[in-house]
Symmetry: D2
Subunit: 356 residues, 4 copies
């Protein structure tokens, strides 16, 4: 089940319709999962900020680096110009180039982009090398194109899928998770959506309670027990609030506080990155706005706190969803990375068990 279906509902705000990043209107998500011989178990996940021409109508964006042991691409231009001009792709560590090639080719090929000669592909990754034969670099540019083309609105598939196919989190099978929050009208009424690719570790806590492996009824698995706090987490954040790139950067930085609540200390070997963008058309960087003096909307500093609260909550819940929706997956050498036993977790937390 998803965490909320199991009764796990962190925070004080309510989620949106799908409790997903796609609750932010216009945002689309697509997955391509790649499995093949020789232990190829990897994939690509694409997040599209809006359904128009992303290159011509850029979205303001902010980036935050929790811990930089990672290979994320496209960050320097986001920092400088405060904007994103492509789909955002997630994949495995050694396949960032191929995913980026796919983003570039897709962008060059979009109608209206015939004269484009510069593309800032934004690609994040985590290292799925415990499950995927990562040195084979199985992802090709067409997988990236396929993930972009597969993107759609509505419910988002979670767990061992797309860029989450081969990830491991706290020694359990990790994956893709998502969640959202809708602010009350008096706080602006905005929606904040989060999607995570979880491959990190630490001392797992769920709703503040330590969840140790020895406290759960799991069939012994030497691979999974020999886990490490290293890994990585990619956090993609969408909102319809009309924020400046500076406030989007601050929003991105808060997501690591949600990660902290799950037990991470952003270990040395972890690539922990967050990227936030606004879908509000009143701040969209259209051709017209990019070429002349223009007006835009701005939500003030003074009212950012509820948005910060939202992103922390949604990040925490997205991580739980990634864990709860994951499936048992084999490791590259032997044994399996099991999904966390949800009923065991609920028992540990003193929550009612879920149904059969």
């Amino acid at each position: 089940p998803r965490a909320r279906e199991a009764g796990i509902a962190p925070g004080i705000y309510q989620p949106g319709t799908h409790n997903a990043i796609t609750d932010v209107s216009g945002v689309q998500v697509g997955h391509v999962t790649i499995t093949a011989e020789d232990n190829v178990r990897t994939g690509v996940t694409a997040i599209l900020p809006h359904t128009g021409n992303l290159y011509q109508d850029k979205v303001p964006a902010g980036f935050s680096q929790g811990n930089g042991y990672g290979k994320m691409m496209g960050t320097t231009q986001v920092i400088e110009l405060g904007e994103i001009e492509t789909p955002i792709l997630l994949t495995n560590t050694l396949s960032v180039p191929e995913a980026a090639a796919g983003v570039i080719e897709w962008t060059l090929a979009q109608p209206g982009n015939e004269a484009v000669r510069s593309v800032n592909a934004v690609v994040g990754e985590t290292n799925d090398g415990r499950i995927n034969n990562i040195r084979l670099r199985a992802v090709r540019p067409q997988h990236a194109l396929a993930a972009i083309e597969a993107a759609g609105p509505g419910p988002v598939e979670e767990g061992s899928i797309g860029a989450g196919m081969g990830t491991v989190s706290f020694g359990w099978k990790g994956g893709i998770g998502t969640s959202s929050r809708v602010l009350p009208q008096e706080a602006g009424g905005f929606t904040v959506g989060v999607l995570v690719q979880t491959n990190y570790g630490g001392e797992l806590t769920i709703m503040g309670t330590p969840v140790r492996r020895q406290d759960l009824q799991v069939p012994g698995d030497p691979l999974a027990v020999a886990t490490s706090p290293d890994g990585s987490v990619m956090i993609i954040i969408a909102t319809d609030a009309p924020l400046s790139d500076r406030n989007l950067e601050r929003l991105a930085a808060r997501s690591f506080l949600g990660i902290a609540r799950t037990g991470s200390v952003m270990s040395n070997g972890s690539g922990d990155y967050a990227l936030a963008f606004s879908t509000a058309t009143s701040v969209r960087r259209t051709i017209t706005r990019r070429e002349q003096l223009h007006t835009l909307q701005d939500w003030p500093n003074e009212h950012m706190t509820p948005l910060f609260q939202s992103v922390v909550e949604a990040t925490e819940e997205a991580v739980y969803n990634a864990l709860f929706k994951a499936s048992n997956v084999d490791g590259i050498s032997a044994g399996q990375y099991p999904a966390i036993p949800v009923d065991g977790v609920l028992q540990l937390l003193g929550y009612p068990a879920t149904g059969p």
Copy 2:
């Protein structure tokens, strides 16, 4: 009681002798509390990295800005040169200049500093204006000098004292708190100590459990109920691990994950700053080392994670200590900021009550 005396012991590592920043050998702490007519209730707290000439024998240091709605002084030089050359002082928002003047005068007056013409005073603050008549700016340079002179090793007084005299945290009386961790020998055997000045808020969680005001038996207090997530937290971190300034900066950044575990989302109006330094003589920037090619020790990136874990744990516990050791203090207009009722908290958490 301190949190640990009440059975609250976050994390996986053990504290040092005093469970205080002073467990890092050589570190000293001093407080001056200032109360006077017209609701003056404020103070100064000084942290000395070592007992020698701090200006001549500088300590490597790293700085991290969680949220910058604050007036901390001295940060740019720490960022550039990776070192601290004075005591670190904490006080209230509008008294940073006077505390800095005290640091400068003290430094100029130290034997051996007769030719010094440049001093980078490091002074942090939180806004105690809910309890202290802050616009009177009651702190004078001599208070800063007195706090430095009062500094000593051993147990550290916590709660409503020094720079914590007038702070408020989660609607309760905040203050100064401290804690430490000692790593196992196989993780390096180092000590990490943390001291916090808590004036921030959010949705308080203790050991992961939400602690709402309505769940505690508190005599109604209109002032305290009308709280806000704004405020600030200053976090000072000491370690005897021989770290580079880069790794000290990373260590500082982790402390906000400990703050996150107490329920903060680093609200817009919060000045959340962390400063970490190393006391290891093998990295100390002595006159000799600063004047010529030299050797120093370095603890590698690959083994930083236990230190990150330690700082997160010690920060969380230091916040609990600040809350648990605080006293009821009057607000500037009417009513009181009460100390959090520890037994009520323990009951809520399902922990045994503390003794009489």
Copy 3:
């Protein structure tokens, strides 16, 4: 003479009416020069972004740190919130606290600020200890107040005045300098003004030509010859272009390119800081804008380059003005820091000499 009066006119754009930071409408500058026994020769310079209530109607701002061996105060909040809420003060290294105290007291005392309990004083400095008995810390808060009160529009006094009283630059007497540029209408028609406090060194070049001491006819002065590349430069930038805080930060960063053209390599011991703000009312952070969803104007990334060019040119020229308008001033021990001999410079450059 000012540089331009001597025929020295760097760059491709034209200056404004006064060729000063005050060409940006509403900007005011005030100086207080302090001389006393025991070699006290120092001062304070104040720059006011507009003539209204600066705290209530904040200006967007960006900060850049060229080299951080300096004690500038107020930077973290500018970075986080992208705004300035006080006059900007310049003084000497060891008097930053007193200048900051003056800024805070002035702000608290302004009509409309009766409830203000938090003030982010922005104070920069350079080290005038070669000329001023800096350890006496002669600046008092009332000097800061006086500099603010002295501020006015129109021509700005340059050279050995205010915060430039005791500065040294390239071994010559330095000081305050200012310059401006007005963009052509097709580039937006905006004004950019720069004010510098020059206390830095290096291998002086003027209009690209190396200007070595041995090439100038100067009465030998052992003090001045024994110069060092260390020092510092503070650069304050005003513009009426409606820029985001991000683009103001980029504008600030460009000013160091102007400094580079004068021969600096931003030496280790230099505190090189730039601060840029916009006076455009269409981006001013009024009470109304700070409390609700609002609209503001924005000048796009794509058209920033002429503004960058302007700030580089005006910074270069402001430095020449600081040098050319300085007076001979005694050093603290013996000898004098002479003003650069302008006619010698012109002869070296092959320019016509100035009149008598």
Copy 4:
């Protein structure tokens, strides 16, 4: 001719044997130039910090972003860990993924790297789309491999070669340039080498003198005249000084001051990045050092200024070399980007002409 052969010798320090980045012992450079039908004129340049296993024996490194309108890859890990673990590659904007793929494949294939599952490829670029049909994305991973394999010590080919094949600078043909400086023994005796890929513009100045197109005798070329300040410059810096990653970052930041001296204002559309590394074995991050407490050497902050001076000078001269060694190359549509007429420049500067 190279600039120095033409009498153009900026700065106060002397170059090394080859006046090239390869004067830093162990550094190797390799080029692959790619030309084909349909106006393919591009390439790859590889810089190898040492001749051993770069992944196992990493070099400390620092990164600086002058202006981030660029797609450089690998920066976040350099910032976090302060080290480089691969060859550094330069290519065109849209071919970063293919160059990165080559770096990853080469690294995975090196003896000793059989277990490597994470590689941080460092790839920079400039946009050669004025000369190269960049949308064809002609660079393949094998070109990157070939550039790495082609790397060698000694003199470095400059101008329209490798990643400089299709670049344009100040409206003239740009390219690859390199230069070095050797410090006097009393300043440490270290070598600093710089390699640039110049594709940027502005108001060209050479040795401080404006060099305008209309002042040079050039066959009229409509393409070249219609130039823009946009473009980009990549700056790679090597030194044998045993520097911390923090001081390498500071060194990198200074290179933009050298760029400033050539007339750049780091225009909005420019991707201006600098990367500095140390080859000193006393700071190399060997397997042993990365796994345990270790000692390393450190050159102190206080003596960094001559290194800063060196990098500014060598960057300026490397740019002149890129211009002076470039060849006339056709643009993609019509006309040519001519090499700058060296004799015309010398005449403008009042220098003796070079021989026939």
